[in-house]
């Protein structure tokens, strides 16, 4: 087996992984970095992010506002000290991206422009038309080329972590082009493998978003935190789930039911005004908007389309010129996939799974509970999203915590050495056999795609926008069954060169385990909070029992063990999440309260 000796190994070359790699390279150019990705870096799913990245910029905005929007949006399940760090470092990281060449949209005076996003008090979303993630990813990738210490392993699929002497000391990867294995020894490992949206049926995620890194860390005893919180995005394409960015509403788009009525005003988000107002109506938070859709559908006020119920996203009043300047990708998607010109016809939309709020347990400095193992990006739960992520916080998370992860991993790597190379190599041999077994031991008749489809359907049934104990239990049972059947896969492909079917079956293994962590965490959380909403007697938030992070632990073949951890509160005690007019009243009351307290 080929062995590569690195100082820091980074699994994943999306926005998070690339930013971390650059941070290591800048922290210490003598450290050898292995940057491993199962696709070429610019194919990573960061590329699909449309809307923008948050950073306090305008003089009328403040760190406190960003903090409050984030913590309230997350229904107080955020690690507040981490959020404080995050909001304080967002702007400088955005400027850093600008210095590296990111083509941010500009104002006439040459300064960077910001736009409105859901759940935000003041406009603070930096954007590059509606291809923000694309531009950030390509800027980071191209900038990374500048650093000779970054050695890329493009199209290498990571199949396991090497844990020796109680710390993470490397990864095992398959070179997809040859089917051969490479052991990458490393003194520190950063996981940056992105989310797990593909466990659901209708989703906005790319085919590669299969929770690999989460499953890898989980199998080695690191808990997955807050996995029950999956974000539904309210405006996605029926059939494919492709995203129409929140910026559509930030720019002034309306959501209409079948009567052409802006139904959000019936759900505590009003009053309906002709132009967008921050934190109200269409600019409310994602969980609320997705939930409102569900209720409209129940009331029979949605439109029936070929792919089920939809509502209309109306952009017509923005005019063709503005649409093409600010939302060109949206126009392209609508025209090519749906045959709809948004300047003349409203776009049919529905909610789809979009973002994995939970992830690998990480402290405020991205370190996991396993020494030497760090995580960043959507796979990580560093603690800023809580029960519901604020739109445009995650792109910023990639660069703020990508840098932190790089600096911390570099520090750690300098402080240790590889303890027992022979033992690691032996481990790698064993892991190699396990990975090969998926194909060589496959003698059953289960089709990969069938299992995958059943899993995704079952997750949608059990862990959708609203949840019931009986449905969740059914999904738990289904996943047990699928994990059993997974042992009897029938694999057509027994070759080595670009055997994508083999990789898909390894991914299915990851998906199934992450799915279990999600549904068991959900089943155990007997309250409603953020994106986790129950209809079976637990409709309210329960701060007494559940102002807690859920932690899912791997137990081998059995279902995960769910434990709970404390939430760090620094300055915002749990209150009511209110938006629209009610939100403004609540805020005024709070100001008064605080004012009184200060005197």
């Amino acid at each position: 087996m080929e062995v590569y000796k690195a100082d820091v190994a980074i699994v994943g070359a999306g926005g998070g992984g690339l930013r971390a790699a650059i941070a290591v390279a800048e922290a210490d150019p003598t450290l050898k970095i292995a940057l491993i990705s199962k696709v070429y870096p610019m194919r990573s799913h960061t590329v699909a992010a449309e809307g923008g990245a948050a950073g306090v910029t305008r003089p009328d905005d403040s760190l406190e506002y960003h903090f409050n929007d984030t913590v309230h949006g997350g229904d107080w399940l955020c690690e507040q000290d981490v959020v404080e760090y995050f909001v304080a470092h967002s702007h400088e990281e955005m400027v850093q991206m600008e210095h590296w060449g990111c083509p941010w949209s500009r104002k006439d005076d040459g300064h960077v422009n910001v736009r409105a996003f859901g759940g935000m008090k003041i406009e603070r979303t930096w954007f590059a038309a509606d291809k923000t993630g694309f531009h950030m990813l390509h800027t980071l990738f191209q900038t990374s080329i500048k650093y000779p210490s970054i050695k890329r392993f493009d199209e290498y699929f990571c199949s396991d972590l090497m844990v020796e002497d109680g710390r993470c000391q490397g990864v095992l990867a398959i070179q997809i082009a040859t089917g051969e294995f490479t052991l990458i020894e490393a003194k520190a490992v950063i996981i940056a493998t992105g989310g797990a949206g593909r466990v659901f049926r209708e989703n906005t995620n790319g085919g590669i978003v299969t929770g690999d890194g989460m499953a890898l860390a989980y199998r080695h005893g690191v808990p997955l935190r807050d996995m029950e919180f999956m974000q539904y995005h309210p405006t996605c394409m029926p059939g494919t789930g492709l995203l129409f960015t929140e910026a559509c509403r930030g720019e002034g788009g309306f959501l209409l039911n079948k009567d052409g009525y802006r139904y959000l005003q019936d759900y505590g988000l009003g009053p309906a005004e002709p132009s967008p107002r921050n934190k109200a109506m269409e600019l409310g938070p994602r969980d609320r908007l997705s939930q409102a859709f569900w209720h409209e559908k129940r009331k029979g006020r949605t439109v029936e389309g070929p792919h089920g119920a939809v509502v209309n996203l109306d952009l017509r009043h923005l005019g063709a010129a503005k649409l093409h300047e600010r939302l060109p990708l949206i126009c392209e998607l609508a025209e090519e996939f749906l045959g709809v010109d948004p300047a003349h016809t409203p776009i049919p939309v529905l909610p789809a799974v979009h973002y994995t709020m939970g992830g690998i347990l990480a402290d405020g400095k991205t370190a996991s509970s396993l020494p030497g193992l760090y995580s960043v990006g959507e796979c990580s739960s560093v603690g800023i999203h809580g029960a519901n992520r604020l739109g445009s916080n995650s792109l910023t998370e990639l660069i703020v915590f990508g840098k932190v992860a790089g600096v911390e991993a570099a520090k750690f790597a300098r402080s240790v050495s590889i303890s027992n190379p022979a033992a690691i190599e032996k481990q790698a041999e064993a892991a190699r056999t396990r990975a090969l077994d998926v194909v060589t031991q496959s003698r059953g008749k289960e089709r990969l795609a069938v299992l995958r489809t059943e899993m995704a359907q079952s997750m949608e049934n059990g862990c959708g926008i609203y949840r019931l104990e009986s449905d969740m239990q059914a999904t738990c049972d289904k996943l047990r069954e699928l994990r059993e059947r997974y042992r009897n896969l029938k694999i057509d492909d027994h070759s080595k060169v670009y055997n994508t079917e083999w990789l898909l079956s390894i991914e299915l293994g990851y998906l199934l385990e992450v799915a279990e962590a999600i549904v068991h965490s959900a089943l155990n959380r007997k309250e409603s909070r953020g994106s986790h909403q129950r209809l079976d007697g637990f409709e309210e938030r329960d701060d007494v029992n559940y102002l807690k992070h859920s932690l899912a632990y791997y137990t081998g073949d059995g279902p995960p063990r769910i434990e709970y951890g404390d939430v760090k509160i620094t300055k915002s005690t749990p209150g009511t999440r209110a938006y629209g007019a009610a939100g403004e009243e609540a805020e005024a009351a709070e100001r008064e309260r605080e004012g009184a307290g200060n005197d």
Partner: protein, 251 residues
């Protein structure tokens, strides 16, 4: 998915290096609906007919650049090409032209990546600036000078379209030269002279004979033919004036 099921014939150029000595066509019958992309057709094949068919894909929304293929002889993104356009005649899918086939619809992208790395595709600032000084000022019009060229998704369709690249692999090629121009044209950058060493060479702009097909097939409106050919004039001027204008003079 209520319309009565239509079935389309998809021919896929197969090549499995461990099995075949040269590529062969294999035919599949795929049920489809009008909103199905060619990529979805291939996924159907892989999921239910033959798990060994290999291809790259991820985003499904024409932004990750993975899924380029020759569809009925034209380089296209399979996720934004629809089966309905080929009904009832059927369609033929092959790996992107001009690049070695690794397996089935997967080509070797290594040459493209090496070339991309060779052009210093990052800002080398004209005037360095600290983070405390904030962002560089750049007017929307200055941004427009390069924005189009920065929209390249590295899908390599233009490489499959450019016969000059097909004939001579030392040619840097349309997409990468467009990115070179993207950095040269950025008001924040000051290193065009360095990059132009390559631009001025036979492997740079001069490998292009203005076929122009690259720009026709580009799914993102990058217009690489323009990026290259507008530089020929600059290069010629620089060639004749380089001894009179001692330094740079490349912009």
């Amino acid at each position: 998915m209520t319309d009565t099921e239509k079935v389309i014939e998809i021919q896929v150029l197969r090549y499995r290096p461990e099995q075949e000595t040269e590529p062969v066509l294999q035919s599949f019958k795929v049920p489809f609906t009008d909103d199905m992309s060619v990529l979805q057709g291939l996924q159907y094949i892989k999921d239910y007919l033959d798990g060994t068919v290999s291809f790259r894909w991820s985003c499904r929304m024409a932004i990750c650049g993975s899924c380029g293929m020759m569809i009925d002889g034209k380089p296209k993104l399979s996720c934004k090409t629809f089966l309905r356009e080929y009904y009832p005649a059927g369609l033929r899918i092959e790996a992107l032209a001009h690049m070695p086939i690794e397996r089935d619809l997967i080509v070797d992208a290594g040459d493209f990546i090496t070339k991309l790395e060779s052009i210093k595709p990052y800002i080398i600032p004209k005037e360095p600036r600290t983070l405390e000084q904030g962002e560089y000022l750049q007017t929307p019009q200055q941004r427009d000078m390069y924005e189009q060229f920065s929209s390249c998704i590295n899908c390599m369709l233009c490489y499959a379209a450019c016969p000059q690249y097909g004939l001579d692999k030392t040619f840097t090629g349309p997409g990468v030269l467009a990115l070179m121009h993207r950095y040269n044209a950025d008001s924040r950058d000051g290193a065009s002279a360095e990059r132009m060493d390559l631009g001025y060479a036979h492997e740079g702009f001069w490998g292009c004979t203005a076929v122009g097909y690259c720009s026709v097939v580009c799914p993102k409106g990058v217009d690489p033919a323009n990026a290259i050919n507008q530089n020929k004039m600059n290069s010629a001027i620089n060639y004749f004036t380089r001894f009179v204008t001692p330094k740079g003079g490349t912009k």
